[in-house]
């Protein structure tokens, strides 16, 4: 069975600083990888996904993630964060032919002035 590990439960960072949220997965078969974001008092929203092709994927608000098969990682990065990026970020994986999501435990990103 697949699993997802997000080692950092909380990441505090100052505004305009770079950030990396780590995600590692375990699966012996091909995977599809996702990052979801949950803003305070809102539902989960898809931030970006890797299905195939280029291993570097980007979101519309400046986040990017790179699929690294050898390290079984899909870390999320942003070169300069904004206060509005404060939220909880979940990494998730799908294996096989369906779309059953297995989520990590989440990383709370707190951006401070």
């Amino acid at each position: 069975a697949q699993s997802v590990t997000q080692l950092d439960s909380q990441v505090p960072v100052f505004e305009e600083a770079p950030v990396e949220l780590r995600c590692n997965y375990s699966s012996s078969v091909s995977v599809y990888l996702f990052w979801y974001v949950q803003y305070p008092n809102q539902g989960l929203q898809l931030l970006l996904k890797y299905l195939s092709g280029s291993t570097l994927v980007e979101s519309i608000n400046g986040f990017e993630a790179e699929f690294n098969k050898s390290q079984t990682s899909f870390h999320l990065r942003k070169p300069s964060v904004h206060i509005s990026d404060t939220a909880e970020y979940f990494c998730a994986v799908v294996t096989g032919g369906g779309n059953k999501l297995t989520f990590g435990t989440g990383t709370q990103l707190k951006v401070e002035l």
Binding site: G43, K49, F90, A92, G97, N99, G106
Partner: protein, 115 residues
């Protein structure tokens, strides 16, 4: 386009009582999911419907949880009787299909507190 609707948003009950949650997916979405998110954990899939048929309910505690999706649109999730460990946010999501390329759209969730 309206998003996934859920009600109620909050519910407090005593243990051994029953409770029901309602979900209205995005119009035209054939696939509907119920997730349980316990505080400090990621969402866990409870049940997945394709139209009004069950695709996966392997993690649904069937002795106390039940779900239905009559007519392949709205869905209800019921817990009877509730236990303290059922305190969680229950998320409903929908997607146009079942392939990995189909995005799942999540509702705001129902926060259940069992006392």
């Amino acid at each position: 386009e309206a998003g996934v609707a859920q009600s109620p948003r909050y519910k407090i009950i005593e243990k051994r009582q029953s409770v029901a949650f309602w979900c209205n997916p995005i119009s035209g979405h054939a696939t509907l999911y119920w997730y349980q998110q316990i505080l400090g954990q990621g969402p866990k899939l409870l049940i997945q419907f394709q139209n009004n048929g069950v695709v996966d309910d392997s993690q649904l505690p069937k002795d106390r949880f039940s779900a239905e999706r009559l007519k392949g649109v709205d869905s209800t999730l019921k817990i009877q009787p509730a236990k303290l460990e059922d305190s969680a946010v229950y998320l409903c999501a929908s997607s146009p299909g079942t392939g990995a390329g189909y995005e799942q759209y999540f509702g705001p969730g129902t926060r259940l507190t069992v006392t």
